[in-house]
Symmetry: C2
Subunit: 169 residues, 2 copies
DNA sequence: CGGAAATAGTTTAGGCTTCAACTTTCAGGG
DNA sequence: CCCTGAAAGTTGAAGCCTAAACTATTTCCG
């Protein structure tokens, strides 16, 4: 049924490429599939166990670390998403009573968002389970592998950041 | 339903999981941020240079590898997204003339999607640029690092798959 | 044959995400 | 003081994505 997946003649391509091109692509695709696999599983469990989503979870996590609350703008920067996105998430979370808005005295444009007691309780439950899930999913790695992977990912991030800040094609 | 997830208190936990739990979380967060960083940059460049998106690009990539076309169901499995999603993407890509639908003789429920000549040309352009981008972003890694990372990610994927197929909490 | 079950694909409702346009407010220089 | 520009936040349109319900067809098997 499935065709033999006629692969491009890799050898020929490699002759011209400066030693990496194709390998880099393979590496990226593997990292992507790996990250997506984990992410999908975590999303699935958040939905099944807590009837919530990853963005909501991340949002609460940001507020948990900021006892005095955060402005939408600050959350937007920390989560690396747009402001409009934060508006929508905040609306739903407030609707559910997990966060609350509070006006800022010194700047009437701004507002701070913070966890309600209920939100704090709920996030604590979710956070504990989340931590267990990750440990379960990565449990097959040895301590050595974990350390090596952490270091390599750090180098990767530096490589990417460097490339972005420079050329930025 | 869900077990109370009785959390071992911190002391006991440390005894049993000396170097796992928290480290796994750190590892996962780093992998996630790394993958998202790359993905965001690729999305940005696809939008700026080709006025397209990553899902569209992935969709065309699947069809490129299948000269005889694919059914929506097959694409859905390969891209690991739902069928409804494929319906929407296919509609837009057909609208733009990049792919075409063709009825299947033997099964009147099914349809095959394939690249049009225009779609094939367009994807070739995008694909070449995409490959260059990835090589540029990962260019800071040595050949050794790349190899090690590839191997570690493979182990990670196996660990995750194992955990999912087993417990599946 | 005939009906139950499975499969292919679409549709719908709702959440996530972005970009661009917009409103309100603040800050600085004439 | 006023005007211009920047900043905080919201809104709207459009695309992406999922789960669930639905239609149409095929397959299985009794």
């Amino acid at each position: 049924m499935t065709p033999p997946d006629t692969h491009v003649d890799a050898e020929t391509a490699l002759d011209h490429a400066p030693a990496g091109h194709k390998d880099d692509l393979r590496l990226w695709l593997r990292m992507l599939s790996c990250a997506r696999l984990i992410e999908a599983e975590i999303r699935r469990r958040l939905r099944i166990n807590f009837d919530t989503t990853l963005p909501r979870f991340d949002f609460l996590a940001q507020l948990e670390r900021a006892p005095d609350g955060l402005t939408p703008g600050e959350i937007s920067r920390r989560m690396m998403v747009t402001g409009g996105n934060v508006t929508g998430l905040a609306a739903r979370l407030e609707e559910e009573g997990l966060i609350e808005r509070r006006a800022v005295r010194e700047d009437r444009r701004a507002v701070t968002l913070r966890l309600t007691p209920s939100g704090r309780r709920e996030f604590a439950r979710q956070s504990a389970a989340h931590e267990d899930w990750v440990a379960e999913l990565l449990g097959g790695l040895s301590a050595t592998d974990r350390g090596a992977l952490l270091r390599l990912l750090d180098r990767t991030r530096r490589s990417v950041r460097g490339a972005i800040s420079e050329g930025g094609a």
